[in-house]
């Protein structure tokens, strides 16, 4: 009896270890990306100017402040760090207080302002006012509040 037959017939098998590694990495990637997008980005149509002279956001600590779009240019409120604030003087006061705390915790904080392209300016203007006041009230010696106006990026 030959040696080959003594060991039995050959059974070819694919080595799937590396495939499982890659597939798990993909799953972890998609899980993380989905969470980040859901927490910070409210679904809206951002302005998309022609020939944009924009910059990519820098790697600095930032808070995302969303102006929630309503019907016909109205506004349904503001959202900061997952919490909604109504469009009333009390709501704006609460928003200011939340921003003051953020400025005190993170000096040099950037506020990313996201608003729908069809939202009227009268709903965005109070946010500018609130951010400016919060930077002044935080007592961190900020000469000015730095705001990032977020728009849809073009093809780079």
């Amino acid at each position: 009896m030959s040696t080959i037959f003594q060991r039995g017939p050959a059974r070819p098998q694919a080595n799937i270890t590396s495939m499982i590694d890659v597939v798990f990495l993909l799953i972890v990637f998609f899980v993380l990306v989905s969470q980040i997008v859901d927490l910070e980005s409210v679904d809206m149509e951002l302005p998309e100017p022609e020939h944009p002279a924009t910059a990519l956001p820098e790697e600095e600590p930032r808070a995302v402040l969303n102006v929630l779009p309503g019907d016909d240019g109205e506004c349904d409120g503001y959202r900061l760090a997952g919490r909604d604030y109504p469009v009333t003087s009390d709501g704006l006061g609460d928003l200011r207080a939340a921003l003051v705390v953020l400025y005190q915790d993170i000096p040099g904080l950037r506020v990313n302002l996201r608003a729908d392209r069809a939202t009227d300016y009268r709903w965005v203007s109070p946010v500018l006012q609130v951010v400016r006041q919060a930077a002044g009230l935080s007592g961190t010696g900020l000469a000015s509040a730095r705001l990032n106006l977020v728009v849809q990026g073009g093809d780079r």
Binding site: L56, V67, R117, Y121, V131, A135, L142, S144, N148, V150
Partner: protein
């Protein structure tokens, strides 16, 4: 010839069971990964379908200076008179816009002509202008102007090379 009980026949020795035991392959211990791979691929397909891919967002930087009461102002330092760009609503529902410039300037019709005007007013803009790149530009949108048009006006000024561009807030 009769053999004793202890004597072995040579043919018996050749057919002993240990020789058959050596032929068998060793028992392999393996994990059945089929069901796990099924589940993992299902998860992968779910997340790929459910994930919403968007274009990257980009930003304009806007400084909001704190205008505190009683701030000391150097009386000998004369600020440049800011150039005021008015963005007004035209028609109903705020779907269109009208641009205006505060001062003895020719009217501008759209954001491209606003950009060309601002560009030509710069010192090196070949239009005989005297504005430096740090000349203050203030965008004054109407209350009902869409945010899109406000951003377009802001973009025209930034694109023309100005670094001191601000938005006027609506006084409450």
């Amino acid at each position: 010839m009769a053999r004793s009980a202890t004597e072995l026949d040579p043919r018996d020795v050749l057919e002993t069971p240990p020789a058959r035991r050596r032929i068998r392959t060793p028992m392999s211990i393996g994990l059945n990964l089929t069901s796990m791979i099924d589940v993992v691929f299902l998860l992968l397909v779910y997340f790929m379908v459910a994930t919403d891919f968007r274009k990257a967002e980009e930003v304009y930087t806007l400084d909001l200076p704190e205008r505190a009461e009683g701030m000391s102002v150097d009386p000998f330092e004369l600020d440049d008179e800011p150039l005021l760009v008015l963005v007004r609503t035209s028609g109903s529902g705020g779907d269109s816009y009208r641009l205006g410039l505060d001062g003895p300037w020719d009217p501008v019709q759209d954001f491209q002509s606003l950009y060309e005007f601002l560009r030509s007013r710069q010192v090196d803009g070949m239009g005989g202008g005297l504005f430096g790149t740090d000349h203050p530009i203030v965008i004054i949108p109407d209350a009902t102007v869409h945010w899109e048009y406000t951003i377009d006006a802001f973009n025209a000024a930034v694109r023309a090379g100005y670094v001191n561009v601000t938005l006027k807030e609506i006084s409450s």
